[in-house]
């Protein structure tokens, strides 16, 4: 077999194939429910109900989507330049770490000043975390996939060490957790009484800003050019190394903000379970959004919905929550296949 470009895909192809990918994912969900000995339709219903079925469920989904929008954007920006940042998890923790270092009483400022300072610290932390691998890539040609991946493991150990050592909360009953952020450092709720914090609003703003950057600025153009063809971009006079470094700073900064948003908006302190893999899930979010910053919002909501829905379904029906990860992995693989097949057809020979 070989692949032949499709000149005019037509709307049946461009809409039908992704729809088929989604249908395939639903079919896999039903098969998994059967394997676990549950009624497939009931399981689907419970996932849907758990994700959007009540005001509480919906708010939970929005809260879960918040860090995923940040990490999804971080990955989308980097992948657009073919900078394979798989280290959003480490960058998230670095952002959270610096926010907690400065936000637990070290800096005494009113809220309107303190929150921007902590945001800047988190962005700097995340950006620095990716700067190392980016330099190794541009200077020495060291593959950034492996370096960013391995730094995730290093960073979680660094956090563990600090939480059991100098940053340990003396009032924490022996648990490895940091002291709580001062009240002025906390992100307020969007609507009083509802469990949704301004981190979500901040994530939406970031998505719009990244979209503007990618579509309306020279840097956005340069990032796309570098991603499409590094050599051609260099030939056209684009400073490839500088663009890759700038991309790394933006990407790492966005992931760092995810860490800030989680501690300042939701948790209040740094723990080792601050992120159940938001950095890795960001890759799925970004790919399902086809690396489009505004699409990241939609796909983060979808992914968060699956996670929240599966959690609640698991409590009711007993199907393991890992069904969510299987579904997302399947959705990812089926969707990239479907998108490719909208542009190419398979011919024999």
């Amino acid at each position: 077999m070989r692949l032949e470009p499709v000149a005019d895909p037509g709307w049946t192809r461009t809409l039908g194939l992704p729809a088929l990918a989604l249908g395939g994912t639903v079919a896999i969900a039903m098969a998994l429910a059967l394997i676990a000995g549950s009624n497939p339709l009931a399981v689907l219903g419970l996932i849907l109900k758990g994700a959007v079925g009540s005001k509480f469920a919906l708010l939970e989904t929005l809260n879960r989507a918040t860090p995923l929008i940040f990490t999804g954007l971080a990955v989308a920006v980097a992948f657009r330049a073919k900078l394979w940042n798989i280290g959003a998890e480490a960058q998230l923790y670095m952002g959270a770490l610096l926010a907690v270092v400065l936000g637990t009483g070290a800096v005494a400022l009113p809220s309107v000043l303190l929150i921007p300072v902590l945001m800047a610290a988190a962005i700097t932390g995340g950006a620095l975390m990716l700067l190392g691998p980016a330099f190794l890539k541009t200077r020495l040609g060291v593959d950034e996939v492996v370096t960013t991946l391995l730094l995730n493991f290093v960073m979680i150990l660094v956090v563990s060490m600090l939480l059991e050592g100098p940053m340990k909360d003396p009032m924490g009953m022996g648990w490895p957790k940091s002291e709580r952020l001062v009240p002025d450092a906390r992100l307020p709720r969007i609507v009083t009484g509802l469990r949704l914090h301004w981190g979500f609003g901040l994530a939406l703003i970031c998505a719009v800003l990244v979209w503007v950057m990618q579509t309306r600025t020279t840097l956005g153009y340069e990032i796309r050019a570098v991603g499409l063809n590094r050599r051609a971009a260099a030939f056209a006079g684009i400073p490839v190394t500088v663009v890759v470094i700038k991309t790394a700073l933006i990407s790492g900064g966005l992931a760092g903000l995810a860490g800030f948003s989680e501690v300042a908006g939701l948790k209040g302190s740094l723990t080792l379970d601050l992120s159940p893999g938001f950095g890795y899930t960001g890759i799925i979010v970004a790919m399902l959004a086809l690396l489009n910053p505004l699409g990241v919002i939609v796909s983060a909501l979808f992914v968060a919905g699956i996670f929240v829905g599966a959690d609640s379904m698991s409590r009711a029906a007993g199907v393991p929550t890992y069904i969510a990860d299987i579904l997302l992995a399947s959705a990812l693989l089926l969707m990239v296949l479907a998108i490719m097949l909208t542009r190419f057809r398979v011919v024999r020979g």
Binding site: E164, Y322, L332
Partner: protein
Amino acid sequence: MEILDILISASFWAAAVRIASPLIFATLGELICERAGVLNLGIEGIMVVGAFAGWMAVYSGADLWVGVGVAMGAGMLFGLLHAILSVPFGLSQHVVGLGITLLATASTYFAYRVALPEVTNPPRIEAFKELAIPLLSDIPVIGQALFTQTPLTYLAFVTAAIVAFVLYRTPLGLALRAVGENPHSVEAQGLSVTGLRMGAVIVGSGLMGVGGAFLTMSAFNSFFFEMVNGRGWICIALVVFGAWKPGKALLGALLFAAFDALQIRLQQTSLGADIPYQIFLMMPYLLSILALVVMSRRAEVPAALMVPFNKGER
């Protein structure tokens, strides 16, 4: 001087060889894939699958060697999926690989929960036992390090020899190396680029599965979550460190394992009392990054690595 004491003890070297064994299998698997031009980032998840499948088979009453076969088969199955998506369809190897890792890991955890719903302490199995090779195992230090190991460790070394032989001494190996350097030349020879690459990914993934199975069947004797713990990613670094050559990759894995065994032992010394244990645990990951940096200047990357091949396209 504690370090010196550790370095001359036979049990230290035996531990190093034991730690190296799963890495040898998985590194060879990744090396085969990359030599054929496919970066297989599914390695981490495929090791998880292998670890679970082999252990589960033995736990359900299968013979140990059947368990190894099951682990290999499970690895090959995910390898087949990777191969279909990345070779004939030419999808991004980064995306496919990470997707496979997530799919394989999640499927394993799902299967574990479905198969053993009420279990809090994972059950242990009767794993491979050490098999001392007569005469050779009596040599001081070396005998204990190299010739008093489990059969799977011996298999790891044999596999390295077989991979090296096939790669450099057979027509198949020549074709495999060529397909990672210049697929068009292989096409011109009338050989199937797609077939060779898919075969390499499937066989390589099978070895990754066996590498994972070593953990449950020859080291920990039980399966628990997150037991692979980044070993797959370390193997990708080892392939680079070994300059895509089986012999050097084997040495790299042994060297790495020696450092890992050393950090474990140092934790128990007076040094370990002063330094937080996390510093020791970081060492394997930092060492892998360092290895990548050191080797970056003279890396001979297969020229067509990560370049999809579509017939009739130039």
